[in-house]
């Protein structure tokens, strides 16, 4: 909290905070209102006498029904969930091991290797999908979930590795040394001591990795083509925008329902998540 006079608190703290929260939450609100607004209201011109952009008096679930009945939305949800979970698990497994190795095992060029891994994370996906598309085609993985499950780790593993490396470095190395004197091999010390202590860090990188793959758009758009294989972000935007016709109701319903799993994951793990990001190891 900022100390000082009341006006200072309002000018430097409360007002910016309110603005910030408004900007963040307004799209969400718009999404919800549009989802439940009947088509008749949606396409009213702005100067119509009963035009009411921020509220509706005739809520309807017709868009949601349309989404489930007329599109493969459930299928997209399942695809997205499957792809996001598997690629997160792969990335976490590799990231935890690599992060531990870079943080703890003093092998030559560990520092340089860490930086190199981080640099691969910096290459934008909008460029990387071009060579990756070629690889996917050569392995004949196009239009299968595996095209994404195997390409998402290209940016998730560096990310997890980097996050876990920082987290492992924050764990006092005496813990591990003590375990090794107590009779544990390096492997057991890692399994029984370091990893349980690093659970907040593992959870945070897992959640972020899950969110990143859930929301990923470019690779999914390029590598998947048949409607049944699509993920939520691609399915909703490609199947509900036909030419220049936007089906705003189902589109927003899809966006709303598609963001619910991520919201659940976040709120469920938020306690671990925050302590993971701040890197606190309670001793």
């Amino acid at each position: 909290m900022i100390e000082g006079a009341l006006w200072r608190r309002w000018v430097f703290y409360n007002i910016p905070l309110i603005l910030f929260v408004f900007v963040l939450l307004f799209p969400f609100y718009w999404m919800i209102v549009t989802t439940f607004r009947p088509d008749g209201e949606l396409y009213l011109p702005w100067n119509a006498p009963n035009y009411m952009p921020f509220w509706t008096n005739n809520p309807t679930i017709e868009h949601i029904l349309y989404l489930f009945e007329e599109t493969s939305f459930m299928r997209w949800m399942f695809n997205t969930m499957f792809i996001a979970l598997v690629s997160t698990v792969i990335s976490l497994f590799c990231g935890v091991l690599a992060g531990y190795a870079l943080a703890r095992l003093n092998f030559p060029y560990a520092g340089g290797l860490g930086t190199a891994i981080f640099i691969t994370y910096l290459v934008p996906q909008t460029l990387l999908f071009i060579p990756l598309a070629e690889i996917i085609r050569n392995f004949q993985l196009g239009d299968t979930p595996w095209s994404l499950i195997l390409t998402y780790p290209t940016f998730l593993i560096p990310f997890c590795t980097w996050l876990m490396m920082g987290y492992f470095k924050a764990i006092p190395k005496e813990l591990e040394e003590c375990a090794r004197i107590d009779g544990a091999s390096r492997w057991k010390a890692m399994l029984y001591i370091v990893i349980p202590v690093a659970v907040p860090g593992i959870l945070s990188s897992g959640i972020i990795a899950f969110t990143l793959s859930w929301n990923e758009f470019i690779y999914a758009l390029v590598f998947l083509s048949s409607p049944d294989q699509k993920t939520v972000p691609v399915g909703v935007t490609s199947e509900l925008i036909r030419g220049d016709v936007f089906f705003w109701g189902p589109l927003m319903a899809g966006a709303l329902l598609g963001s619910i799993p991520v919201a659940i994951v976040y709120s469920f793990f938020v306690e671990h998540y925050v302590s993971g990001l701040t890197g606190s190891v309670k001793g």
Binding site: A179, I181, D182, A184
Partner: protein
């Protein structure tokens, strides 16, 4: 039952030579303290004994078998770390059980051992708590308990008391001493605190810059320091040093410094005689300097000006100026002395130390 032998031990970190030719024989049931300023190599030596640092050259033997290449888990040692290193996700009992579980002890045996160790340390009521719910002193006890349950050949302590406040440190020091007398396990203890070293150690190893300066029992170090460094490091308040020149006069050896002219007593004179005309450092502990009375021989008296009076309650420390040198004297607390007083001080001639000005070795 364990003896530890350290032979010609060296450690290089890249180009930095941090432990140099350390030789040490630690007898069974002995409590040996490694003491020295930070960066003297004491912790590195201990970590090499633990197996946590690779040995650059030399040998470490536990019970006559070379352990240079033996991993820490197979050395049958237990270590207590400065920051306790308690496993934060385990209860106190879990912390103590971990080492035994790793060694595949039976469950009833683990429980008896934990109960016994907890009783020794008075932590029976804390067994279900997590480390973060404990105070500093309690964590220290748990760390000790974790070492005790293992019943290892050797205990290693890496500055275990330095994270505690002063009062608790004194209390734990006494408990450690009792604990060692009760268990009789060979122990190596690293500290930078010379008081801890003197009170705990059966023998004390003073280190500086990677070299062992002197090994001996506490009184030996106090009474006959091998060099100027040991003399200044051991004892509190620290020994006074005065730069002086040796001279001969009618068969007696005299040490002369501005404002000071002392006749060296018999045995010291005999050793110093060959160095007449050379520069030396005189050493005298504050507790061996007192205010001169009629009974003191004028050969051991000198004039001093009081600069600072430090009241400690049990004694008074006088910071006095003798020529260019500062001499601290410890005097009776009943004395009424103010700064700028001029005093005549005397010293116990048999307690005088003499060091070579160049090599700093004791003469």
């Amino acid at each position: 039952m364990a003896e530890v032998s350290i032979r010609k031990l060296n450690k290089m970190f890249d180009v930095t030579h941090v432990v140099k030719d350390v030789d040490l024989e630690i007898r069974d049931k002995e409590f040996v303290v490694l003491v020295g300023p930070s960066g003297c190599g004491k912790t590195t030596t201990l970590r090499m004994v633990a197996g946590l640092e690779a040995i650059s050259s030399g040998q470490i033997l536990i019970d006559d078998s070379v352990v240079n290449e033996v991993p820490p888990m197979d050395r049958d040692i237990a270590m207590v770390f400065q920051n306790y290193a308690l496993y934060p996700h385990m209860s106190v009992a879990g912390n103590m059980a971990f080492g035994l579980k790793m060694r595949k002890f039976a469950k009833p045996e683990i429980e008896t051992r934990i109960k016994r160790a907890a009783a020794i340390l008075g932590i029976e009521n804390l067994l279900e708590r997590k480390p973060r719910q404990l105070s500093g002193g309690q964590r220290q006890r748990v760390a000790l308990g974790r070492a005790i349950v293992r019943d290892p050949k050797v205990f290693l302590f890496d500055e275990p008391l330095s994270n505690l406040d002063a009062k608790l440190r004194v209390q734990m020091r006494v408990e450690l001493k009792k604990l060692h007398e009760r268990l009789g396990t060979t122990a190596i203890y690293v500290t930078h605190d010379q008081v801890e070293a003197m009170t705990l150690g059966d023998r004390v190893v003073v280190m500086k810059d990677g070299w062992v300066q002197q090994v001996g029992d506490p009184l030996e170090l106090y009474n006959t320091p091998a060099n100027r460094f040991v003399a200044g490091f051991i004892g509190s308040p620290a020994m006074n040093f005065i730069e002086a020149t040796l001279g001969e006069n009618n068969g007696t050896v005299i040490a002369e410094a501005p404002g000071l002219r002392l006749t060296l007593p018999g045995s010291l004179a005999a050793r110093a005689r060959t160095r007449a005309g050379r520069a030396v450092t005189l050493g005298i502990r504050p507790e061996d300097v007192h205010i001169a009375t009629d009974r003191d021989s004028p050969e051991f008296c000198f004039d001093a000006t009081v600069e600072v009076v430090e009241q400690l309650g049990s004694e008074i420390l006088l910071d006095t100026r003798v020529g260019p040198a500062t001499v601290v004297a410890s005097v009776e607390p009943t004395m009424r002395i103010r700064s700028n007083d001029r005093l005549r001080l005397s010293l116990k001639p048999e307690r005088l130390h003499l060091f070579d000005a160049e090599t700093e070795a004791a003469i």
